[in-house]
Structures are given as structure tokens and as C-alpha cells.
């Protein structure tokens, strides 16, 4: 039986029986992989804390090719992201990253770019004060990696670079519309061209530099409504963890 060695982020860890756990990994090289971890529920389990969701691990598993369930052989922590988990301000954002990545990485379909985006974003989540900005960037990037980059350079109708202060955004056409073209293409939203510049920056920015990015509050709100709606339009529904980010932010304020 083939043995696989790769790195992964633990997506989910469930009780399977009295002794065993069923663990779902988002791997770098094999997409989503489900493994049975024998005796992982024992107090003295050799897997220790490595099967906790969100952990970045290196793992060895085996089983027949393209089967649904593999057997976990070894799992070692590369980074536990314990600091993120213990901070309610970052925890829910990170769980949202996990859930979102879990939607775009399918079984047997490796998405190394999304995987690395996830790892880097989790690392950054522990460092940054503005998890909101990171969240927007993550949403936009994951859409781009999945092949849904919004067209931001030129108007989707006349193919010219918009000169006006305001531009429209069309979710159905996945791009911007310049003011003179508003009557030709229905736009769902009007945004400042400055906001478009931030969106462009999000697509190319090195994640380490996100801390230096200072975004005006009104622009951030515009960006959120765009990036999150892109996600919703793609998935067709709200993600379970998303409302928690809001709820937690409100609780911190009061």
C-alpha cells in the first residue's frame, strides 16, 4: 500500500469510536484527505495535540490510492497556532479561513496555492492587529486562486480604464464598470476608485506587509461588502463561522 508524506492544516477532528479519531486534513499535495487516527483518543496517544484543528502538521498516511479513508501513521506539529486559538479576536477569523479553504480544496484535488495562502494567513493572523484587513485579503485571494479574480483594471463594458471618482461593481460580470457605461450594464454597487486600488493591491501584496497597510474605515467597509459578497456569490450561502467574527467584535466593544 502506498505511503504518503505531505504537510497539512488540520481542518476537523472527530470522535470515531471509543479510541479512534477521524481527522480531516487540507494537504498540500493531495487536497482534502480523511484519515483514521488509531487510538488517538487515548490520554497517552502518540498523536498528542497534533490532531487539533488549525494545527500545521507534517504527516504520513497510507492506504489505497483514491480511497475515501486513509490510515494515519504519523503526525508532527510544525506550528500549532495556539496563540491564535487563545485569542478570541483572532480565533474566529482563523476558523473562517479554515472553513473557506475547506470549501475550495476538494478530495484528491491539490490546491497548493490555496494551501500556502492558508498557512501564511494563519501565521499573519497571530501578528496583525487588523484581522479585518487580513480577512478581506484572504477572501479576495482565495477567490483569485480558485479562478474568480474580479476584473479591476478596465471597465468590463468599454474596456477602458475608468477616469471617474466613482465606479460601479457588477457581481454577475465579476468586474468594474465605468460611470459612462452605467446605463449599459446594471451595477449592484457603486464604489470609490480608491477602493478599487486597494483591491488591486490586495491581489499582489506580500502578506508580510499587511501590517503596514493603513486602510480608511469607509474604504474597508466597501471592500468587505465586495470581497464577502464575491464569496457568497460563489458558494451560494453564508459560511457557518462568519457570523461569529461579527458577534465577537461586538462583544469586545461592549
Amino acid at each position: 500500500m502506498p505511503l504518503y508524506k505531505t504537510q497539512a492544516i488540520v481542518l476537523k477532528s472527530m470522535k470515531l469510536s471509543e479510541k479512534d479519531k477521524l481527522v480531516t486534513f487540507l494537504t498540500e499535495t493531495h487536497g482534502k484527505v480523511k484519515c483514521v487516527a488509531k487510538a488517538a483518543r487515548r490520554l497517552k496517544s502518540r498523536f498528542g495535540a497534533s490532531l487539533e484543528p488549525m494545527s500545521h502538521v507534517s504527516l504520513i498516511y497510507f492506504g489505497k490510492e483514491h480511497q475515501d479513508l486513509y490510515r494515519l501513521n504519523q503526525c508532527d506539529i510544525i506550528q500549532s497556532f495556539q496563540d491564535i486559538k487563545e485569542n478570541p479576536d483572532t480565533y474566529y477569523t482563523a476558523v473562517y479561513f479554515l472553513e473557506l479553504a475547506g470549501h475550495f480544496i476538494a478530495e484528491d484535488h491539490p490546491e497548493p496555492e490555496i494551501f500556502h495562502l492558508l498557512v501564511r494567513s494563519l501565521r499573519e493572523a497571530g501578528n496583525t492587529d487588523s484581522s479585518g484587513t487580513l480577512c478581506r485579503l484572504f477572501e479576495l485571494r482565495i477567490m483569485a486562486h480558485a479562478g474568480y479574480t474580479p476584473r479591476l483594471q478596465k471597465c468590463i463594458v468599454c474596456h477602458k480604464e475608468p477616469k471617474s471618482l466613482w465606479v460601479g461593481f457588477s457581481y454577475s460580470q465579476h468586474g468594474i464598470v465605468c460611470e459612462p457605461c452605467f446605463d449599459k450594464e446594471p451595477v449592484e454597487m457603486r464604489i470609490k476608485s480608491g477602493t478599487v486600488n486597494y483591491l488591486k493591491k490586495f491581489l499582489s501584496l506580500n502578506l508580510n506587509h499587511i501590517r503596514r497597510l493603513k486602510i480608511p474605515k469607509d474604504v474597508e467597509l466597501e471592500i468587505e461588502s465586495i470581497t464577502h459578497r464575491l464569496v457568497l456569490a460563489r458558494l451560494g450561502r453564508e459560511l457557518k463561522s462568519y457570523p461569529f467574527i461579527r458577534q465577537m467584535a461586538e462583544m469586545t466593544r461592549t
Binding site: 497517552k44 484543528p53 506539529i77 495556539q82 486559538k85 487563545e86 472553513e99 457557518k240
Partner: protein
């Protein structure tokens, strides 16, 4: 030979129980079939009883036959000390230890954003009201040391911020009889953080 429908039905029902697979379910159902009628009736009645007689304590949400439960009613226990646990079953685990003299608060689950379970689905508000009302001295957070249990503990700690109560978390680290050699870095780090001075 085809199995009678009644047997099949019983096997299916037994299989829904935790830890029971096809083989065990078959063995149990054939055992029950062969046994005395009286024994089976007894078993059926006791199973029904737990649904009819056992209720949840309105104070701690633990399972009980009387409300409030005997722990909540016990004048010898310290009612200014509350141990917060995830499930009713956890109360029994801690009671078995025999050393704990406070009362409990069962959350009826954990916050689990990936499953869409939030604080509003648990008994957290109840806990907050109880602490405010009773002049509680200490709240011990005894949720599991996994991601959900940990984040639930942090949520409650934040929720109780501002209330005049000491909030503590059960120690996490090496299990008794464990081995440092095989401990993972997270567990080791927790053991270091949770170290205590040895009295000499």
C-alpha cells in the same frame, strides 16, 4: 433463512447506540430473544424510565430526578464555587473523583463555529445571570482542552469580565503516568505554563 422484521428493527435501533456495530447489535438482539420475557420487560421499562423520570436541573442543567438536583440542594456543598462543564456526563466524571465540593454548571455543548453552534445555543447567559445573582466566588472552567473547549472557556472568561468573580481554568499538560519523551510541544508548553511550586 430470512430474519423476522422485528429482529431487523431491533438490530437497527441498537446500532444507533454509541460504540455498537452490526455484530454487537446482532449478538445483543439474539440474546434478548432467547432471554426470559420478564428480563426484557424490565430492561424496556428502565429505558423508558430514563426518558420519563430523568429531567434537567433548572439550576445547573445536570441530569436529575428531582429539581433542583441533590448537588444544588446539598447544604454541605459550597454554592459560591461553580465548576463549568460541557456535558451532563462530565458532572459524574468529576463527582467520581470525590474531592470537589462546589456545584456545577452544564453548558450543554461547546461553541463550535464550524458547526454553527454559538454561545446562544448553550446555557452561557444562564451562567452569567447566576454568577451575578449569587455572589459566586470562583468559576472553574472545566471544558475539554481541545480547540472548541478552549475557545468556549475563553469566551466565558470574557463574558464574566467585570463580574466580581475569580475565573480559573483546569490545568492542561502532561497526564499522570505520562512520559515527557513522547509529549508534543503544545502539551509540554502548557505543562511549563501551568507549573506549580512544590511545597517543601
Amino acid at each position: 433463512m430470512k430474519r423476522p422484521a422485528a429482529v431487523k428493527e431491533l438490530i437497527e435501533e441498537l446500532k444507533r447506540l454509541p460504540g455498537i456495530g452490526q455484530k454487537t447489535a446482532e449478538r445483543l438482539s439474539f440474546y434478548l430473544m432467547r432471554g426470559e420475557k420478564e428480563r426484557v420487560e424490565n430492561l424496556a421499562r428502565t429505558i423508558l424510565n430514563i426518558k420519563e423520570k430523568v429531567i434537567l436541573c433548572t439550576n445547573c442543567h445536570g441530569i436529575t430526578e428531582i429539581d433542583p438536583c441533590d448537588i444544588c440542594q446539598d447544604p454541605k456543598r459550597d454554592h459560591n464555587l461553580i465548576c463549568v462543564v460541557e456535558e451532563p456526563y462530565d458532572v459524574y466524571v468529576i463527582e467520581n473523583m470525590g474531592d470537589y465540593r462546589g456545584e456545577y454548571h452544564v453548558l450543554m455543548g461547546v461553541i463550535s463555529p464550524l458547526d454553527g453552534i454559538g454561545p446562544q445555543d448553550l446555557t452561557t447567559e444562564d451562567l452569567k445571570a447566576k454568577v451575578g445573582r449569587n455572589g459566586t466566588r470562583e468559576v472553574i472552567l472545566a471544558t475539554n482542552p481541545d480547540m472548541e473547549g478552549e475557545s468556549t472557556a475563553i469566551y466565558i472568561a470574557r463574558m464574566l469580565k467585570g463580574a466580581e468573580v475569580k475565573v480559573t481554568r483546569i490545568a492542561r499538560g502532561l497526564p499522570v503516568g505520562g512520559d515527557i519523551e513522547y509529549a508534543d510541544p503544545v502539551t509540554l508548553k502548557k505543562s511549563m505554563e501551568g507549573r506549580m511550586e512544590i511545597e517543601t
